[in-house]
Amino acid sequence: MSARSEALLESPTDLREIAVDVIDRARRAGATMAEAVVRDGTEFSTVVRRGEVETLKEAGSRALGLRVFLGHQAASTYSSDFTPEGIEMLVSGAMELAKITSPDPTSGLPDKSELGQISGDLQLYYDDVYSLAAEERIEYARRAEKAALDSDPRLTNSDGGSFDAGTGRKVLANSLGFVGEYRRSLCSVYAAPIARAEDGAMQRDYWYSSARTLSKLDSPENVGREAARRTLRRVGARKIASTRVPVVLEPTVAASIIDNIFDAATGDAVYRQATFLVDQLGQKVAGENITLIDDGTMVGGFGSSPFDGEGVPTRRTVVIEKGVLKSYLLNTYTARKLGLKTTGNAARGLAGTPATGSGNFFLEPGTRTQQQIIAGVKQGLYVTEFLGFGVNLVTGDFSRGASGLWIENGELTYPVEEITIAGNLKDMLNNIAEIGSDLVFRSSMACPTLRIDGMTIAGA
């Protein structure tokens, strides 16, 4: 089956050639500057539920995006049609569209001197993600689910186990002479068992492992057992009365707070005054224990790439250092808008103007273990999940649904659900009382265990 996945992308076209050709055509059509992105990829996924295959999905695809400038006017088009007529439409469409946009003196490609890519192998691509035979891939999914369901008789149902693999290639080129290309691969294994309590109430949780190479993927058994542990600890969850106690966020939950801070620190949010971090550069915005870093250059990282969405080398940017806001996260446009230099954080989809995306964004770990942090809390809530989207980056107001485990005298006790946790990100950044030593990258956003004081729990 691995041979077939690759074969779905018949005759691997030279994507670089296509990208350069599209830029030439755009220049000939009158574009003063142009930028093209060409990508292709393959995907495989299988879900096994209660031991039986539920879905098998396999495909390959490719697409092309073009951004043109007419002086300071800009527009973009995208298509999956690589025929000469398709590419001609892509170019003429973009040129026509650019004429209706406003001349924006800030717009444009990066300065030529800023273009480039970091050297060395970032180890983002491994063809071993497709090395398993068809039956073995299904077996991975089956093993993960089985390990979960075999853990405890209360695990009576399942949302399944799965195995996914994918590869992607991306070429970016622009009329200033930049041409860059990289490939990435990813594979993952997942399980989501369901437990039924004596009263019939059901609980579900999940766990997964993902990696750029099969050799670094956790075993399906470990993933399944962890999924089971996470699900079982929710059984018998109850609502608690409203209260104000310290909350301890487990790393997956803490990472979502880091994600909010990333969004609040992007140049887009800053120049639109859509963030509580506006006008705060050089100011103290967090406790002295807080250092937040974005690093797009980490070897094998989920957020790593040799260059960003505009062809600017990725780098390591200290965003908050010991509580002081040191840098926003910028692409070419937002940097110019704010009179700063790009931080190599342009994120480019197929169409539209570049947005801002993270490299590997993380909070520097502390020295205490999670267990030590919990042990230091007399009464509090250990949070294992957030629900919903109640974060307002303009004001910093934060209010999300949550579930977790009650902490009593430094120990985890009964499960809790149907409550909210609320506060304000500005205060939360200053009230992080403890930072764990357990920094693990499970995606491009990572954070150790955090204890935050002063938040309100709303319940019964």
Binding site: L8, R49, V53, T55, L56, K57, E58, A59, S61, R62, A63, A74, A75, S76, Y78, S80, D81, M89, G93, L97, I100, T101, S102, D104, S107, N157, D159, M202, Q203, R204, A237, K239, S242, R272, Q273, A274, A351, G352, T353, L387, G388, F389, G390, V394, T395, D397, S399, G401, S403, E417, E418, I419, T420, A422, G423, M455, T456, A458, G459, A460
Partner: protein
């Protein structure tokens, strides 16, 4: 020949014979059912920021997804190249889910009678781009003119035209041309040290005229600006259980999260929903009747046929508080021995269809909205919401109020900061004690996500009162 038959047959050179042979290939290893979903989607996006048209983009996405069902198993493959050998290869890949002798698809593909829900002579996708730019600029201007404290406005117009052809081995043959348009904007207001945001937007399966005659850019702009200005003076929301009144329209997101997802047939077939096994049981007060209706003309959540080629319908989910039915697609309908409600939807040809909502709303009751407010001693009146989310299995759901007020002694008082409301799906609606006569549907901005797939949906609700719900603020 309809517009999009000619598209797929002429532009991509498909023939009726080809279609039959693709289905044959998909069933070459057995399988109970196979279908092919051809899609040709054009989309345009214009965005205005700082009163400049900063971004304009257009794109085309075309492809074909092939699905084969064998018992509870689904094999799926897709291609973005519509040449016969690529489609054939995708069919062969999907076929491998089954293990048995080849089957023959039905020989005569038949087009079923479909709704005509989109009264659109010229889709927005084909309208003059300058006219779309004009709408967005008008929205920007009106928001700025609303109040000098509005310091930033970002407005956008998005439209798409989705042409689909669905064929199935059971004889299904369906085509649809689905227009969709949306105007939306975000405002930031500033006053001294205080900042606030407001958002509004709307549209549907409508022509550009809709934004001239029905809902103008000024209408949406003033609503977004109004919310931002009100939020400048918002105070901390309370924390804990109290009476909650939901305003009409978009607060119907309560129904979408609290019950809609939990009633999608796939979760119930697998027994993974908090609503599993509750058909015929009371899950709401007798004042509540809730439907999912894909047949409302021009609505964002409406479609003539679903993405499996089945006509959409009006499905009663809850009747006077009793759970009546689920939302199903072909697979769940067959496996559960229940009717297909025409809710099989997918984000694109790259995705596998599954049961999804269309327009989900509660029917009007008899209470006057003023009486509902007046009946509350101390509670929250929530009229606008951001997103929501639900844990299908435990039934716990949240939705976040972006515009809400305190009700004190029967009167609406101070605006409240953003806060999340949380509840439990199977019993939240049992606390509905009053239902207003003022049913409204939302403006047409909703997008629902499930398993990583987004589809446009609608919601609606009259003013209702819940006797008890947890409000996630910070004030005591």
């Amino acid at each position: 020949m309809t517009q999009n038959q000619s598209l797929f047959f002429q532009k991509f050179g498909l023939t009726p014979n080809d279609l039959q042979s693709y289905l044959g290939e998909a069933l070459s290893a057995g399988g109970d059912y196979a279908d092919l979903y051809f899609e040709y989607l054009t989309s345009t996006s214009i965005s205005v920021d700082e009163s400049m048209v900063k971004s304009a983009s257009q794109g085309i996405s075309a492809g074909c997804g092939v699905r084969v069902l064998a018992g509870e198993r689904t094999g799926f493959a897709y291609t973005d190249d519509l040449s016969p050998n690529k489609i054939m290869r995708a069919a062969r890949t999907a076929a491998l889910i089954a293990r048995g002798p080849a089957k023959d698809p039905v020989q005569n593909l038949k087009q079923a009678k479909a709704h005509q829900l989109y009264q659109v002579a010229t889709p927005a996708a084909d309208a003059d781009i300058a006219a779309k730019v004009d709408l967005v600029m008008r929205a920007d201007k009106a928001a700025r003119a609303y109040d000098p404290r509005i310091v930033q406005v970002r407005a956008g117009f998005n439209d798409e035209l989705r042409q689909i052809l669905v064929i199935g081995s059971d004889g299904t043959y369906a085509t649809d041309v689905q227009p969709l348009a949306r105007l939306s904007l975000n405002c930031i207001a500033k006053s001294g040290q205080n900042s606030a945001r407001g958002a509004a937007g709307g549209g549907g399966r409508v022509a550009l005229d809709f934004f001239h005659t029905d809902k103008t850019p000024e209408y949406f702009a003033q609503d977004a600006a109004r919310q931002a200005i009100i939020q400048l003076d918002a105070r901390d929301a309370p924390a804990g259980e109290m009476e909650v009144v939901l305003g009409p329209g978009w607060p119907g997101i309560l129904l979408h999260e609290a019950i809609g997802h939990g009633l999608e047939a796939d979760f119930n077939r697998k027994g993974t929903s908090a609503f599993s096994g509750l058909i015929g049981k009371r899950v709401a007060s007798e004042k509540c009747t809730v439907v999912d209706n894909g047949t409302l003309p021009s609505r964002r959540g409406s479609i003539n046929v679903d993405d499996e080629g089945s006509p959409t319908q009006n499905t009663v989910l809850i009747e006077k508080g009793i759970l009546k039915g689920y939302l199903s697609d072909k697979l769940s309908a067959k496996l559960m021995g229940m009717p297909d409600t025409g809710n099989g939807r997918r984000e694109s040809y790259e995705h596998i269809p599954m049961p999804r909502m269309t327009n989900t709303y509660m029917l009007a009751g008899e209470d006057a909205p003023e009486d509902i407010i007046r009946s509350v001693n101390r509670g929250v009146y929530a009229v606008n919401f951001g997103g929501g989310q639900v844990d299908i299995t435990s039934g716990k759901f949240v939705f976040s109020a972006s515009e809400a007020y305190m009700i004190e002694n029967g009167k609406i008082t101070a605006p409240l900061k953003n806060c999340t409301l949380i509840g439990n799906g199977p019993d939240a609606l049992t606390r509905v004690s009053m239902v207003g006569s003022d049913l409204q549907l939302d403006e047409g901005v909703g997008t629902c996500g499930k398993d990583g797939q987004s589809v446009p949906v609608g919601v609606g609700i009259p003013t209702i009162k819940l006797d008890k719900m947890t409000v996630g603020g910070t004030a005591s």
